[in-house]
């Protein structure tokens, strides 16, 4: 699904990623943990095509294609989804409008007809229920006046409707209370299947109690310094990032 080879990325003159290697096969859930400033968010931004980052070396292949050569919207249409760490508020655009515009952009790209209004409403209401959201949220402006937890649920709602192949969750668990975390995790787990891969970026081991990863990676100072099973997250929690940083050095 996703193959990252020796990826070096700078912001301005400052190198942030210094040779990341990562393979995510179809159907797997990979978690990336690491201290602040390790480059976790940079990785998610580069994968989704955000401006302001320079790739100085290395490659990213997605479904056999050079991902970095694609415009952000083409990546999305081909199935790459980023759940934002800080979802933006878009006053004047209702949630349901955005969902429909996004879904139709993808359908049009795939050569399918635009979604039938009634089918769409049924689909959306179904997913809203899954994420235990109030239907009223659909008709409110995107994220405007939403609480932190509501914004994160809204990101997962978008994923549930767009059904991406590669779902990047950038600190989707940060700032959530345990009830909200359970709901968001339920939404993510409902999306898991053999064809869909996940890259979960998180600070906190707690998320991994609810969404079981296949592989856990530790990113420190722009490199993946350690990879392992879910038990690695527990070890990290107990010993601190300092431990891996020393090991990586």
């Amino acid at each position: 699904m996703l193959s990252i080879k020796n990826l070096h990325v700078s912001v301005g003159d400052k190198p942030i990623l210094k040779g990341v290697n990562l393979e995510i096969p179809a159907g797997e859930v990979h978690a990336i943990m690491g201290p602040n400033g390790a480059g976790k968010s940079t990785l998610s931004h580069v994968l989704s095509g955000k401006a302001g980052y320079t790739v100085t070396e290395g490659s990213v292949t997605y479904k056999g294609e050079d991902l970095l050569a694609l415009e952000p919207e083409m990546r999305a249409r081909k199935g790459v989804f980023l759940a934002f760490q800080y979802p933006v508020e878009i006053p004047g655009v209702s949630n349901i409008y955005l969902l429909k515009a996004a879904l139709n952009a993808m359908r049009t790209y795939r050569g399918e007809s635009e979604v039938d209004a009634l089918d769409f409403l049924t689909l959306v209401k179904d997913k809203v229920k899954l994420l235990e959201m109030d239907e009223k949220f659909l008709y409110r402006a995107v994220n405007e006046g939403f609480s932190g937890g509501e914004k994160k649920r809204n990101e997962i709602l978008q994923a549930a409707i767009l059904e991406p192949s590669l779902c990047i969750l950038d600190e989707t668990d940060s700032g959530l209370d345990i009830d909200a975390l359970k709901v968001v995790s339920k939404g993510v787990n409902a999306l898991r299947d053999e064809a869909r891969s996940f890259l979960m970026i998180t600070h906190y081991q707690r998320l991994l109690d609810y969404i079981k990863p296949d592989v856990v990676h530790v990113l420190a100072d722009g490199r993946i310094v350690k990879s392992g099973g879910p038990e690695l997250a527990l070890e990290l929690e107990a010993k601190g990032y300092h431990w891996v940083e020393e090991q990586g050095a």
Partner: protein, 436 residues
């Protein structure tokens, strides 16, 4: 101050309404003297720095006789007349009864032209005329008081809720016309009403001067919506002066589309626990100047004022916002919130914005926020990351910026009308009206 207008209006003597009424003649004469003292404002006046109205004296704009108005413009009226409204039509500044429709208004509502009101119930007119409008400091208001040709007199009795809005439809039929209207809107205690002011022109270059005085009694609620669709080269100077009694509510929604120079002023005086909500959207193109001036005077405690004005400025257009809030010494617990946001779509567009807070009380909450800028890169990326191409994303965001104001319109017929106007002014790729 030299002005072409005293002579022009002198030639209409006898046609101006209420000439035989000494009280009104006196009122007009005093206003004319005040106007002549100051003339129309110049850009040297700080309040008019960005809005050059010298065209009003440079070009010949001529008032039209009541007997000479072209009523044959009915087709145009039909186009702008809103469904489900009572309508009062003013053609070139004069009330056109034949085109108006106030049939079926309840007995508790008086809707007639100012000309009719002066004949029928002069005392009621003088109880209100000139009581809140300011001839002294706003040059065009003295002009309006001196030479208004007609206007609406609307009085809503105690506890009457008007079930349909009243539309004041102003139409200018030909070039070089000076249309000058004066409206009185009176809401008695507990009354509620929506008034829609529509300004349209069949010509490009002409002048509109319009002043409304509104009196909102205790616990009454008035909303005034303005759909300004003047001709492309028209000058539009309009002011609304509001007296808000205790616990009253007033909302103003100015949608400014037309005119080469359009100035809209809102002045309101808030008594105890009164609330005002002022809103504006201005979409500038070419060389338009669209100017919003507001003055909110908190006179007594516990009053609330909210302001949100948004501008989208393209080409060489200019948007102006000046928001003045005055909090009197005794107006404790005032809650005031003012925002002005401008989106510049062209390097040559300009936004001039000036919040002015004058606070004489010490226990108040006064917030303000002003922005001038381009579309937010983060929002563009957020939409792209959902598969929407960059151009469509920008179109959506520009439209959305404006649509926030459109969504405030609670009258369905007007909402649709304004939405169409807004949509027609932006590129629509990526926007599907059926989804809104």
């Amino acid at each position: 101050m030299d002005s072409q207008y005293p002579e022009l209006y002198a030639s209409l003597e006898g046609d101006l309404i209420g000439q035989s009424d000494t009280k009104l003649a006196d009122f007009r004469a005093r206003a004319a003297a005040q106007f002549l003292e100051q003339g129309f404002p110049s850009v040297r006046d700080e309040e008019w720095r960005y809005s050059n109205v010298s065209v009003l004296e440079k070009q010949a704009f001529v008032p039209v006789l009541a007997s000479e108005i072209a009523v044959s413009i009915a087709a145009d009226v039909a186009k702008h007349q809103l469904d489900d409204c009572w309508v009062m039509v003013f053609v070139d500044g004069h009330y056109a009864e034949a085109l108006s429709n106030v049939a079926g208004l309840p007995d508790s509502v008086q809707a007639m032209s100012l000309a009719q009101a002066i004949v029928k119930q002069p005392e009621q007119v003088y109880e209100y005329l000139g009581q809140v409008a300011d001839n002294q400091t706003v040059g065009f208001t003295a002009f309006n008081s001196a030479w208004f040709s007609d206007g609406a007199f609307l009085q809503i009795a105690k506890n009457t809720q008007l079930e349909k809005p009243v539309q004041l439809l102003h139409i200018v039929t030909s070039a070089h016309v000076m249309a000058n209207t004066r409206h009185l809107v009176i809401l008695e205690q507990g009354a509620e009403a929506h008034v829609i002011e529509t300004f349209v022109g069949a010509a490009e270059q002409y002048a509109t001067v319009s002043v409304m005085e509104a009196f909102v009694a205790q616990n009454a609620g008035l909303s005034v919506y303005k759909n300004q669709l003047e001709g492309a080269k028209a000058a539009h100077l309009a002011g609304i002066y509001v007296q808000q009694a205790r616990d009253s509510r007033f909302g103003h929604y100015n949608f400014a589309f037309g005119g080469l120079l359009a100035r809209s002023e809102v002045h309101t005086n808030l008594h105890q626990a009164a609330e005002c909500d002022l809103n504006g959207l201005y979409l500038g193109v070419k060389r338009q100047t669209l100017d919003n001036h507001t003055r909110i005077h908190h006179l007594e405690p516990h009053a609330i004022s909210k302001e949100l004005y948004k501008g989208v400025l393209n080409d060489k257009s200019r948007g102006v916002f000046q928001g003045r809030v005055i909090v009197a010494e005794q107006a404790q617990k005032t809650d005031s919130d003012m925002h002005n946001h401008n989106l510049l779509l062209s390097d040559n567009a300009e936004a001039d914005t000036k919040p002015q807070l004058e606070i004489y009380a010490d226990d108040v909450k006064c917030a303000h926020g002003i922005t001038v800028g381009q579309l937010d890169e983060k929002s563009i990326f957020a939409l792209q990351s959902r598969g929407i191409d960059e151009t469509s994303a920008k179109n959506m965001l520009t439209f959305a910026f404006a649509n926030e104001m459109v969504d405030k319109i609670e009258l369905p017929g007007l909402h649709e009308k304004i939405l169409t106007e807004v949509l027609n002014r932006f590129p629509q790729a990526g926007i599907d009206q059926a989804w809104l």
